[in-house]
């Protein structure tokens, strides 16, 4: 299903997961303020082996294996960030971020606003389903943080963006949650530039230009949208696919521009529907682009349930190519 966008490059192909490792490695080499903190990230190299070899390379003062305590870890990262370091926290699974919710929303997000203390830190959150993880190893928690002023949120869909956005996040003066999609870890590959680059936070990308309908999406769903676009093309439905890449701050200009062109929009996300990011984008479209809308804004998203475990249930739960197709056909006929 997955084919990554090709970028001009010199290096050999790396997976999405390797791209993340590379970003961490390069940033740690570039800037000695950068350090890693989390559970099992040292000798073990992390649950997904993203930091394999880092302990040996950077030592146990920069690769910090912690007790099992997400709130304590995030709190510690906040303190270290305020003292001038650049912590990168690894959540073992994004699902466990709920344990650190208070630290993230009440401390990290509000410190600068309240008393001018910058908190330059990154929380890496391996998120998303399709991996038979069940309710507690498949969650998409971005919706909660989308409604927490003071945080930046990014969610790359390709190895190129995975690397470039992580570097940008580490260099950002604010707390950034970096949502890395577990499903993509080893399923997509791309050759990356050998020189240092970042993908700027706050910039969406038109992944596929099209004229009939704009599909606004992010994360693993970008690939679903592209696949749906390929299928619909033969029927003359020409999807424009926008990969948000950054969720906060939202690149409304790119979204609006696309909708001004196509007049029709589908918002696609793997997160549950009610109160998800799609709601905000739909609301923005009707607020800001009402006159150019030529049909309802449709959302394709997971139903309002936890992520179920069993294969047929999880398949039903996750937005599928056919769901996008169906919405697109409906909207095209509108």
């Amino acid at each position: 299903m997955m084919t990554a966008a090709v970028h001009p490059t010199l290096s050999q192909e790396v997976t999405y997961l390797e791209a993340i490792s590379q970003a961490l490695d390069e940033e740690m080499t570039r800037d000695e303020r950068v350090f890693l903190i989390g559970e099992d990230i040292g000798a073990y190299g992390g649950a997904f082996k993203i930091t394999e070899g880092f302990l040996e390379k950077y030592g146990d003062h920069r690769v910090i294996d912690t007790p099992l305590a997400e709130s304590g870890i995030v709190g510690a990262a906040i303190g270290a960030a305020m003292m001038g370091l650049r912590p990168v926290v690894e959540m073992q699974f994004a699902d466990f971020i709920s344990c650190a919710f208070d630290q993230i929303t009440e401390v990290a997000a509000k410190n600068h606003y309240r008393w001018n203390a910058p908190v330059p830190m990154v929380i890496r959150a391996p998120f998303g389903g399709g991996v038979h993880g069940g309710p507690f190893h498949s969650e998409c928690p971005e919706g909660w943080f989308f409604h927490s002023p003071g945080l930046k949120l990014v969610a790359p869909s390709t190895p190129y963006d995975a690397k470039g956005l992580l570097k940008a996040a580490i260099r950002d003066p604010n707390p950034v949650i970096y949502f890395e999609h577990k499903f993509l870890y080893r399923r997509i590959k791309a050759a990356l530039p050998s020189e240092d680059y970042i993908v700027p936070i706050g910039k969406a990308e038109v992944k596929r230009p099209g004229s009939t309908i704009s599909v606004v999406t992010y994360g693993a769903m970008v690939h679903i949208a592209l696949d749906a676009a390929a299928r619909l093309q033969q029927d003359g439905i020409d999807l424009e696919v926008i990969d948000l890449r950054t969720l906060i701050p939202l690149d409304t200009e790119t979204i609006y521009e696309s909708i001004r062109k196509t007049s029709k929009a589908i918002i696609l996300h793997e997160d549950t529907k009610t109160g998800g990011i799609g709601a905000e984008i739909a609301a923005l479209l009707v607020e800001e682009c009402f006159d150019c809308l030529d049909g309802p804004v449709l959302r394709v998203a997971a139903p309002d349930t936890p992520v179920p475990f069993s294969t047929p249930l999880e398949e039903f739960f996750l937005p599928k190519i056919s769901d996008v197709e169906e919405a697109a056909r409906k909207l095209a006929a509108y």
């Binding site: 559970e39 099992d40 040292g42 000798a43 073990y44 649950a47 294996d65 912690t66 007790p67 099992l68 305590a69 997400e70 709130s71 304590g72 073992q92 699974f93 699902d95 466990f96 709920s98 344990c99 991996v131 038979h132 993880g133 069940g134 309710p135 507690f136 190893h137 139903p303 309002d304 349930t305 936890p306 179920p308 475990f309 069993s310 294969t311 047929p312 249930l313 398949e315 039903f316 739960f317």
Partner: protein, 332 residues
């Protein structure tokens, strides 16, 4: 525990029960691991290999109206509470006949009717929940007890602290077990805490604590029984640390290279089943032939369960949408 004490405290029937559940647990988890290797299991696979004595020991003294809030290495407790091997396999296969109907998997088994509070991945989350169940019993003046368990790693979470504290302040009828298997995933105990014994953590709450040989099922059974009786009688909570060793990886995909081989060797000879057999023989409670009978009985049950589970239907897609909310009837 020494022989004469055991003889006085554990009847032959009880010990054979304990032994049976040790074998059933070992057999079932070995079978699950085999299925996992064959790629027939959905998702991950967490076992209690080498630590079976903990949950077998704590669950057997419970009465039927008592409640457990187990963690992810408590297969023995599930079985003792009446979750069948077939149901466990069905759960692992995502079948509709599993206790969670395919909504959740593997060791996330819960069933209020059988007094099993479903495990939540977020470690230690169920400890406050366990205290709350105990609070309900206290409020209603019911002589019921909750037993809960956590790993050594889980004790580092804030919810452990908040639960222990509330239980101690209100003298709730809850017994906290800790399966100290020396690792939390790859993290050895010394990176987890600066105390030698997890039991030291109970001091922060004024809660009595005991350290047990986590591979001695009879010792655990006896200590659990005592703590449960105490809790039932209004004597408040107890913390019981079981020192044992995780003999497999964190989950079956993990080769656990970070565990020194010598440590595994050392603990291999302390295997809880071998230990129980030695004791049973020394006590004159059973001999090799009995062990083989019991094992055969366990295996039969397991195979019947595998067959049943494999023939069970998967749930259908739209069932995804069911059950987000409870109905009036369910709580009437």
């Amino acid at each position: 525990m020494d022989l004469s004490r055991i003889a006085g405290e554990v009847t032959r029937t009880d010990y054979l029960h304990l032994y049976y559940y040790l074998r059933l647990t070992r057999g079932l988890e070995t079978r699950i691991t085999a299925l996992y290797r064959q790629g027939r299991i959905v998702g991950g696979c967490y076992t209690s290999h080498g630590m079976e004595a903990v949950s077998v020991g704590y669950a057997l003294p419970l009465e039927s109206r008592d409640v457990i809030a187990p963690y992810h290495r408590d297969m023995g407790a599930f079985l003792i509470r009446g979750i069948t091997p077939g149901e466990v396999i069905a759960q692992y296969l995502g079948k509709r006949t599993g206790p969670t109907k395919g909504k959740d998997g593997n060791v996330h088994i819960g069933d209020l009717k059988r007094g099993v509070i479903g495990f939540v991945s977020h470690l230690a989350d169920n400890l406050p929940v366990a205290t709350g169940a105990a609070l309900a019993f206290q409020i209603r003046g019911e002589p019921r007890v909750v037993v809960t368990n956590t790993g050594d790693g889980g004790t580092s979470r804030g919810d452990f602290h908040e639960a222990m504290n509330l239980a101690a302040v209100r003298k709730l009828p809850v017994v906290f077990f800790c399966n100290n298997n020396q690792y939390a995933y790859s993290t050895p105990l010394r990176y987890q805490m600066a105390v030698q014994d997890v039991a030291d953590r109970a001091k922060a709450y004024g809660m009595p604590a005991e350290i047990l040989d986590g591979n001695d099922v009879a010792a655990i059974y006896v200590a659990a029984r005592r703590a449960i009786q105490k809790a039932r009688a209004g004597g408040g909570p107890t913390f019981l640390e079981c020192k044992t060793m995780r003999m497999h990886g964190h989950s079956e995909h993990d080769p656990a290279k970070y565990v020194p081989q010598a440590l595994l060797e050392e603990w291999k000879i302390k295997d809880p089943i071998l230990k129980a057999e030695a004791m049973l023989k020394a006590l004159g409670y059973a001999d090799e032939a009995d062990f083989q009978d019991i094992d055969a009985r366990a295996k039969k049950e397991i195979e019947a369960g595998v067959e049943w589970a494999e023939q069970s239907p998967l749930p259908e897609g739209p069932e995804t949408l069911e059950g987000v909310f409870a109905t009036e009837e369910e709580v009437a």
